[in-house]
């Protein structure tokens, strides 16, 4: 409900209802994509059919007016046979009809745009197919060092043997890496270091290094008696403390309550957690003997953010806190990727054909011992001019380069 609050009830609601808060997954956006696809198909077919006919069955016999109307025209001495031979030598496909001749080269170039459009249709299909949930699944897992976590929705678990973070001397991050292993049915089947830019691939899933976290892991706690003598040392896991710890043969410490981020709720004045993180862990415990009688109480502020409280026979003191490192791995299974890449490949192929081949057409008509030459370039008219000048033996002009 961010938008109504930020922009007022009318504009905020309108904004949300129009789908502007999630434009790329909204209905009108999908409609736009659909319209683009449909118009792409129709436009392509509309032009492709006549184009194909023109390319495969060109009209060879042309009136002189038609030839003189072309982009590039010349009038030279010569005869058609000779002209046909020259054109063929330069790679033109030549057809004859009575006193006329037609030659063209680079015909394939004209089909290029349609190959690009087919590629774009495949790309659009792959993009839309991502909306199908089964084709596009993601998962995020947080794994502490040395532990194994089952990935929901898969048949495998991932072990984080060790997460490593390297820094430059300036404190900027240099490398994030997880020494990870895939575990299936309790057995490691694959072990690999996952890094940023080096994901692990397994069973259609790509597993990426996404994030990391460090938190207080295990608190080493010293227990002392009334005389101040050490009784024992305890290792208390701050994510999940045990319910009971043995202090001596007769006494145990029972955890009454544990808060990982202790706060007194300002309204109810009851203790609770301020967040999900371990920021201010507090252990409340009762020391009991074998008969179940309480011999003392403790409220330990593990990080010392407030004064701890002890009554009775025992006191607790934190001697050391071992940090625990988590790696965050992002799992992504996207079945549309091969289609997307194939589509992009088709687009690039089409672009090479379209932009690096040129379709040049030449019409020649023999008129009273002279040749009327008219030519048309779909692209690179300059290159066509140079080509024809060289072919017809006309000076190409000083300083103009070969194409």
């Amino acid at each position: 409900m961010y938008y109504p609050v930020r922009y007022g009830p009318f504009w905020g609601k309108l904004y949300m209802n129009l789908g502007l808060t999630h434009a790329y997954s909204s209905v009108w956006y999908a409609t736009l994509i659909l319209l683009v696809v449909v118009s792409l198909i129709i436009c392509s077919l509309h032009r492709l059919v006549p184009l194909h006919r023109m390319l495969t069955r060109p009209q060879v016999w042309k009136l002189p007016q038609f030839i003189q109307r072309q982009d590039v025209t010349y009038q030279v001495d010569g005869n058609l046979d000779e002209m046909a031979k020259k054109l063929k030598r330069r790679g033109y496909k030549v057809q004859r009809d009575r006193e006329c001749l037609y030659g063209d080269r680079g015909r394939l170039s004209r089909y290029g745009p349609y190959i690009i459009h087919i590629g774009l249709l495949i790309v659009a299909f792959a993009g839309v197919a991502k909306a199908v949930p089964a084709w596009n699944q993601t998962n995020d897992v947080w794994i502490p060092d040395g532990q194994t976590v089952k990935v929901p929705g898969t048949n495998f678990a991932i072990t984080n043997h060790k997460f490593t973070m390297e820094l430059y001397s300036t404190g900027m991050p240099l490398r994030f890496a997880t020494d990870a292993a895939i575990v299936e049915n309790g057995q490691e089947v694959l072990r690999q270091v996952i890094e940023v830019n080096k994901p692990l691939a397994h069973g259609g899933w790509d597993i990426y290094q996404a994030s990391w976290r460090e938190e207080p892991g295990v608190a080493q706690v010293r227990v002392t008696n009334e005389a101040g003598q050490m009784v024992t040392n305890l290792a208390i896991d701050l994510r999940q403390p045990e319910q009971e710890y043995r202090i001596t043969d007769h006494i145990s410490m029972v955890i009454l309550a544990y808060y990982h981020d202790f706060i007194l709720d300002p309204e109810t004045k009851q203790p609770s957690n301020a967040s999900f993180e371990i920021k201010n862990p507090v252990i409340m415990a009762d020391f009991v003997d074998q008969q179940g009688n309480s011999v003392g109480r403790a409220a330990l502020m593990v990080l010392g953010k407030d004064t701890s409280y002890f009554s009775g026979a025992y006191a607790l003191a934190v001697t050391k806190i071992d940090q625990r490192w988590f790696t965050a791995l992002k799992l992504h299974k996207d079945r549309t990727v091969p289609f997307m890449y194939f589509g992009l490949g088709v687009v690039m192929l089409g672009m090479m054909i379209t932009f690096f081949l040129f379709h040049w057409q030449v019409w020649v008509r023999e008129e009273r011992g002279q040749l009327l030459v008219g030519a048309r370039a779909y692209k690179n008219k300059f290159g066509l001019k140079q080509d024809l000048k060289r072919l017809l033996g006309i000076d190409v002009g000083e300083g103009t380069a070969a194409l």
Partner: protein
């Protein structure tokens, strides 16, 4: 060689390249103007000398990139300083390709300055070598960025040729007006002009001319911004606020800042004069204000002193040469080469890298979105040329617009919008 030596060598080579581009630009200009004044009797060789100088400069620039690559230990396209410099290189490399195809020397007088400007602009950003963050440590860094920049380099040439076309046609218009018959085709005389532009409506002429002035004002703003940024960065002035540091005297202060809290400018303008509204960063607004104002000043200086009071477009139009039809084709050809290269580098490689680094090939990140918008503009350019016969002036304006979008994608997005490409950002 030690790393420090390589970095020094790189800086020297860069200086040589800069001087080379400048010399080539002046030679191209001299060749065109001198050739016209002397009616071809002199400066005949200036163009080919310029092209050779220019090639040398491109080689120096490439040497500078290689030296920095070895010195820094990574391909030098990892921050804004390196990237803008690299794009200056690709634009001039693309120019070398095109000039060797078409040998139209006047083009160098327009594309050369693009490289000179970009090199100057790169120094707005801190030129120090920064180590790579994990996300950038990939073989895709050289592939994606270099290839995209190469495509954009060809778009820069298309922009130059397009602008030259617009000037040339304006020049023919002026000649026709001066001759009193009003026909551009007649004024064109020996040169050929696309059919679409031989009969223009009055609307097209008026707005074509005004559009050119707006464009030159925009160029002045960018040049003014660069000069101001360099001047104040290296002069070391700074005004410290609670959450930002200004390098230009604060006229527009940060949001909520008391007026006049930093004394006054020139003794009578309180600093800041106003505080920024909540929706915009005061520092950016301040910089924009200065750029617009000094850009206007620069525009007026050029117009009054160099152009002797005529509009800058008209002034340059009278000097422009070249066959308009050929210019139109060069612009088209540069787009036709740049487009597939940009598609591969800027979109396809970007998608492949995103998939490998972040787990998905598309994020609708602002930079991705703007790269797509630029791609769509050039797609439109190619389509309307064929389906609607938009040749000549309209086509040239699209080439100019497309390059504007490219510049916004590279510069505006980094400065104004935050996204996954934000590591490449600069601060001004």
């Amino acid at each position: 060689m030690t790393i420090a030596m390589l970095i020094t060598a790189s800086a020297w080579l860069l200086g040589l390249a800069f001087a080379g581009y400048l010399a080539a630009t002046l030679l191209y200009g001299a060749g065109v103007i001198g050739g016209r004044i002397s009616q071809g009797a002199r400066f005949a060789k200036a163009g080919s000398w310029a092209t050779n100088f220019h090639l040398l400069a491109v080689l120096f620039h490439f040497g500078a990139i290689l030296a920095r690559w070895q010195g820094a230990g990574h391909w030098p396209t990892s921050n804004m300083y390196e990237f803008i410099g690299f794009m200056a290189f690709t634009s001039q490399l693309a120019f070398q390709v095109i000039i060797r195809m078409y040998r139209l020397n006047v083009l160098g007088a327009l594309v050369g300055p693009v490289g000179v400007f970009l090199m100057g602009y790169s120094y707005v950003f801190p030129p120090k070598i920064q180590p790579l963050v994990p996300a950038l440590r990939s073989y895709w860094l050289p592939l994606h960025v270099s290839m995209a920049a190469l495509g954009e380099g060809f778009f820069a040439v298309a922009f130059g040729a397009g602008l030259l076309y617009l000037l040339r046609v304006r020049g023919l218009e002026l000649a026709a007006e001066a001759a009193g018959h009003g026909s551009v085709a007649v004024a064109a005389g020996g040169v050929s002009i696309p059919a679409a532009d031989t009969r223009q409506t009055r609307w097209e002429r008026t707005w074509g001319q005004r559009g050119l002035e707006v464009l030159f004002y925009g160029i002045c703003v960018m040049v003014a911004f660069t000069l101001l940024a360099l001047l104040f960065r290296y002069s070391g002035y700074q005004w410290l606020f609670e959450r930002s540091t200004y390098h230009l005297p604060p006229i527009i202060g940060p949001q909520g800042e008391a007026i006049g809290s930093k004394g006054d400018l020139l003794g009578f303008i309180p600093m800041p004069l106003v505080a920024a509204p909540s929706w915009m960063r005061g520092k950016h607004m301040n910089t924009v204000l200065y750029s617009l104002a000094f850009g206007w000043l620069l525009y007026q200086v050029v117009r009054r002193w160099l152009a002797k009071g005529q509009p800058i477009g008209d002034w340059l139009a009278r000097k422009a040469t070249g066959d308009p039809e050929l210019l139109d084709e060069i612009s088209y050809r540069a787009v036709a080469i740049g487009y597939p290269v940009f598609t591969l580098g800027g979109l396809v490689f970007a998608m492949l890298w995103a998939k490998e680094a972040w787990g998905d090939y598309w994020f609708w990140d602002p930079k991705e979105t703007w790269a797509l918008i630029a791609w769509l503009v050039y797609s439109a350019y190619l389509h309307v040329r064929i389906t609607h016969g938009w040749e000549g002036r309209r086509s040239a304006w699209l080439a100019v617009l497309g390059f504007g979008v490219i510049l916004f994608t590279l510069i505006g997005v980094n400065l104004l919008i935050v996204g996954v490409h934000s590591y490449a950002g600069g601060d001004m």
